[in-house]
């Protein structure tokens, strides 16, 4: 067996917070930025005598996610208790789903630099998050616990071991995040712990004498706080497994060593052992008698499936069919709201009155140019999101601006200035143009006057041009535009200037 025959075999367990207003079993708000232990009640504190009540919205979001991943929704899902002792888990058991999850057998198609990969989804299930334990922050020999996060609805998505490289692992995690955000199922801010990826890494070592594939031990990687760390940690682990295996091929196998849990130190770029097979818990799963099993109404499931929004891959395909390049299609579809805005804009533009043939000739292109250049720039510059932007500059308003530019009533540069002000001042384009008197001058007589003014005031530059310095033309152009207060149609200025200089 050579190193080249070792095939990385990776599955991902992803946990993500569902975008519910309240926790999974009580009415406490899900909040991230509040005083420790301020968003808690007897139920999420696990006080004696309390009972959980399932959050219907969480179940709905979980089912929606499972359906978007093409999962089957079984006729019955039940809730189980997973027991382990830790101070961030007040009941000392976590309510989860063990052997009958609410979604099974789906897939996610993932784009990578080497092509598309289909990753199988083993299961999707709902469970509660634990609190947070903080050690030694107070200098004393004790730890403190914050239970605000306790009981936050958590969706666990387990993939099949269909991932074969670090890049694929990252791409899968990113595609999953995109889908979750698209569906409004979760916000997935990794730094807030709203999405946690745990790759299970192993290498296939070919087949054993029984014909079944053999593997190196499985490493479950934890504390990965970014997609970059997912990629780095998986790459590190693949290399480490390779090294360990080649050093002792007989010993370094799954049969011998089983599964271990490893942490990731991002600063050192290395994984470290947290728990070996011998220390594995017996979670003593049992059905939770306080909750009734989830028996979904088939009509409701069908309706949920029918009302799924357009998913990223479907949207990319539609844009490509509209004639957009794959790259632009993916950029537009990257975020649900950007895609939606593009769709709104391409619907708004043809509805404009007297829109001329530019709409049919280059309408779609103009729309995505504006979005990918200027809208995205504003989002970055103003550190805002598409939702906010859209509420200030709805697609209909941007369509009006586009019309002003495309029909030559203002020039392109003025258009950009107007656009900036539309967002800053929350005003329609036409109002800004009127208030500032920015309507483009296309009257040749007036433009001739601006050009004459520029030529008269810059005799040296005219000389330079005539003596062959072509760059001087740009300066004269600029002077003529300046004379017009930026309102002259640049094409006409250019034509008239050329005529006068050449004439």
């Amino acid at each position: 067996m050579s190193a080249a025959d070792l095939v990385p075999t990776i599955g991902l367990e992803v946990h993500l917070h569902l975008a519910t207003r309240t926790k999974l079993f009580c009415g406490c708000k899900v909040q991230y930025d509040v005083r420790p232990n301020s968003s808690v009640c007897p139920v999420c504190l696990g006080m004696p005598g309390v009972l959980p009540v399932m959050n219907a919205k969480a179940v709905e979001l979980a089912v929606r996610m499972a359906l978007a991943l093409g999962c089957t929704i079984p006729d019955l899902a039940k809730w189980d208790r997973k027991h382990y002792y830790y101070p961030d888990l007040p009941k000392n058991y976590q309510i989860s789903e063990y052997d009958q999850p609410l979604g099974v057998g789906g897939h996610l198609d993932v784009e990578t630099s080497t092509g598309a990969v289909r990753v199988g989804i083993t299961r999707v299930h709902l469970e509660e998050d634990a609190g947070k334990l903080m050690h030694d922050e107070h200098g004393g020999n004790f730890s403190v616990v914050d239970l605000n996060r306790t009981g936050t609805p958590l969706l666990e998505i387990v993939s099949e071991p269909d991932i074969h490289s670090a890049e694929e692992a990252r791409a899968y995690a990113e595609a999953l995040r995109q889908l979750v955000v698209y569906l409004g199922v979760g916000d997935c801010h990794l730094q807030l712990g709203q999405m946690r990826c745990e790759p299970n890494v192993s290498l296939r070592i070919g087949t054993g004498p029984d014909g079944k594939p053999r593997y190196t031990p499985i490493s479950e990687l934890k504390n990965l706080n970014s997609f970059r760390s997912v990629e780095r940690a998986v790459a590190f682990e693949i290399a480490r497994h390779r090294q360990e295996y080649l050093a002792d091929p007989a010993a370094y196998t799954l049969e011998n060593l089983g599964k271990e849990t490893r942490g990731w130190n991002d600063d050192e770029g290395a994984s470290f052992l947290q728990r070996s097979k011998e220390e594995a818990h017996d979670y003593r799963y049992c059905p939770d008698p306080d909750l009734v099993p989830f028996v979904p109404d088939r009509k409701w499931v069908d309706q949920m499936r029918a009302t799924l929004p357009e998913l990223p891959a479907q949207r990319v395909a539609r844009y490509v069919a509209m004639g957009l390049s794959g790259e632009i299609a993916r950029e537009l579809a990257a975020e649900n709201l950007i895609g939606q805005y593009y769709d709104d804009l391409t619907r708004a533009v043809p509805r404009l009155k007297s829109s001329g043939d530019w709409v049919s000739k280059r309408g779609n292109k103009v729309c995505h140019d504006w979005i990918l250049q200027h809208v995205r720039r504003i989002l970055n510059e103003q550190k805002t999101d598409m939702g906010t932007f859209r509420s200030v500059v709805p697609a209909e308003r941007l369509a009006e601006l586009i019309q002003l530019v495309e029909e030559g009533r203002i020039n392109r540069n003025t258009g950009v200035e107007v656009f900036n002000e539309m967002f800053a001042a929350n005003k329609p384009a036409l109002k800004i143009v009127e208030e500032r008197g920015l309507v483009q001058v296309a009257d040749t007589g007036a433009i001739e006057a601006f050009v004459d003014q520029a030529l008269a005031a810059n005799a040296r530059t005219v000389e330079d041009y005539k003596s062959g310095k072509k760059a001087a033309f740009g300066r004269l152009m600029g002077e003529a535009m300046k004379a017009s207060g930026g309102k002259a149609n640049p094409q006409l200025v250019k034509e008239i200037l050329l005529k006068k200089l050449g004439g």
Binding site: Y85, R284, C286
Partner: protein, 496 residues
């Protein structure tokens, strides 16, 4: 007649007629408790001030002619495994919850307050409701008012004894495998375990969640009906509690005096087999003869799984759930924490070792074992399968009979300490009661006479799910024919 000799219903009606005040009723109850408590030891905490305050409020409402609830001014005791946010502790008779004050009220406690009941205190129990004698209390055993050297039964022994000794006319208990019915039988009072889901468990500290159910104690069937009426019904905080839409709560008192005719009574031969005390059997057979005289048809029915496997099934299901439910008592967030420990795991171990009593530890270990990897299928899963067979036994039986009768307990009250050294003998006290919880049906114990030693005996009546109204009527038919409820336990005679 002393106020404390009145039944709850008589007291409630007298209060409405303003024959005496709620404050007088509270004082009478508190005085009886003060007089008898040193011998009976039914209470873990008393709230005299709170009771007086609540009684005064009821008096004000009565004086103003305001509407008052079903139980306005009636003193009630609550088993100390139900949360009260009144500043009194909720201990479950465990050291691990010593002094713990619940920050919220159990649903039933809210219901009692809404119906104007005056809670006077919290009653003793076997620690976390695990036991059949109330001897497993970290705060001392309760005595049987009929014989102070004997147990009151358990686990709701404090509630049963408090009602039997006429300290309060009503008390709430909880029944996981007979913990209301068995002490009711041993103390000569009426006790009912309603259908699983009839009464919200919110705020009842869980022992075995799929079996636990809160129910009433009273000296008469009507009083039990009255208290059930007050606490039954929907509560969205308990997912296993039925909705009023699906299962409306009937007016239990309205139909109580209507006999059930024709009445077909099933007698499982398994309930009259070995282990049944002959004195108890005789009293129970006499009671059955009363029903026959009233025109009831007695027929033998078979519940093949319900005695032979019931105890084994029960002790797997109940201990498994208990091991899970009691995991939260770890010394971290509330309750007892061992003062000396070297690290976190050590703190867990010492806190639990020092906080729980032997019987609780025994059940946690049994349950932990039953749920462990490799044993789950053989124990817990198998137990759930047998549980379904037990349920089916009853479904079959209820196709041909209206109710099932037998002794509530195989013996009358036993001597204190008699069974403490032998857990299995103690577990067999529940042999006739556990199948009712496993089948989730309704069950009741009604006093049916006394043994030659003067110890009370209970007749257990079981009926199908959500037929509490009929169950109460069946018990009432018998009660009208006998005078057992009029007898006063010796401890009351001696005192008055």
């Amino acid at each position: 007649m002393a106020i404390t000799d009145l039944t709850a219903r008589e007291m409630r009606d007298a209060l409405r007629r303003r024959e005496f005040s709620a404050s007088e009723a509270a004082e009478a109850s508190l005085a009886a408790i003060a007089r008898l408590e040193p011998q009976v030891k039914a209470f873990l905490s008393l709230d005299g001030d709170g009771a007086r305050r609540r009684a005064a409020e009821i008096d004000k409402r009565l004086a103003a002619g305001d509407s008052v609830g079903l139980l306005a001014g009636v003193p009630v005791a609550v088993k100390d495994n139900m949360c009260t946010a009144d500043g009194q502790p909720t201990t479950c008779a465990s050291r691990i919850l010593q002094g713990w004050k619940a920050p919220y009220n159990a649903h039933v406690v809210e219901r009692l307050a809404a119906e104007g009941a005056v809670i006077v205190g919290k009653t003793n129990l076997d620690e976390f409701a695990m036991g059949s004698s109330t001897e497993n209390s970290a705060y001392g055993a309760t005595r049987n008012p009929w014989a102070l050297d004997r147990v009151p039964g358990g686990s709701s022994g404090g509630s049963a004894a408090a009602v039997a000794a006429r300290m309060v006319p009503l008390a709430l208990g909880s029944d996981t495998g007979g913990s209301i019915r068995q002490p009711a039988a041993l103390c000569g009072v009426v006790g009912m375990k309603p259908t699983y889901g009839r009464v919200s468990r919110y705020g009842l500290v869980a022992f075995a969640s799929s079996l636990d159910q809160i129910g009433p104690f009273g000296r008469t069937v009507a009083d039990a009906a009255l208290l059930l009426q007050a606490v039954a019904g929907e509560d969205t905080r308990d997912s296993t509690c039925v909705s009023d839409k699906d299962r409306p709560v009937p007016d239990y008192l309205a139909s109580l005096e209507e006999p059930v005719r024709p009445l077909r009574i099933g007698l499982p031969k398994e309930f009259f087999g070995k282990g049944l005390d002959p004195g108890v059997e005789k009293v129970v057979r006499d009671a059955l003869a009363v029903y026959e005289r009233l025109g009831a048809k007695l027929a033998e029915v078979s519940l093949p799984h319900s005695t032979e496997y019931a105890i084994a099934t029960y002790y797997i299901v109940a201990t498994s759930e208990a091991s899970s439910n009691l995991a939260r008592y770890d010394g971290v967030h509330y309750g007892y924490r061992s003062p000396d420990h070297s690290d976190m795991i050590d703190m867990y171990m010492r806190s639990r070792a020092g906080g729980f009593g032997d019987e609780v530890k025994r059940r946690i270990m049994l349950g932990t074992y039953a749920l462990s990897a490799g044993y789950y299928d053989a124990y817990y899963k198998k137990a759930l399968q047998v549980r379904r067979l037990i349920r089916r036994d009853f479904e079959e039986a209820f196709k041909t009979v209206d109710c099932i009768m037998g002794p509530t307990s195989p013996t009358a009250a036993f001597r204190m300490g008699e069974k403490t050294a032998d857990p299995l003998a103690m577990y067999l006290s529940d042999v006739f009661t556990v199948s009712c919880n496993l089948a989730a049906i309704a069950g009741l114990s009604v006093p049916c006479g006394f043994t030659g030693d003067g110890l009370p005996v209970g007749l257990q009546v079981l009926s199908d799910v959500f037929t509490e109204d009929r169950l109460l009527r069946i018990a009432r038919m018998y009660e009208r024919e006998v005078q057992w409820a009029a007898r006063r336990p010796p401890v009351c005679e001696a005192a008055s």
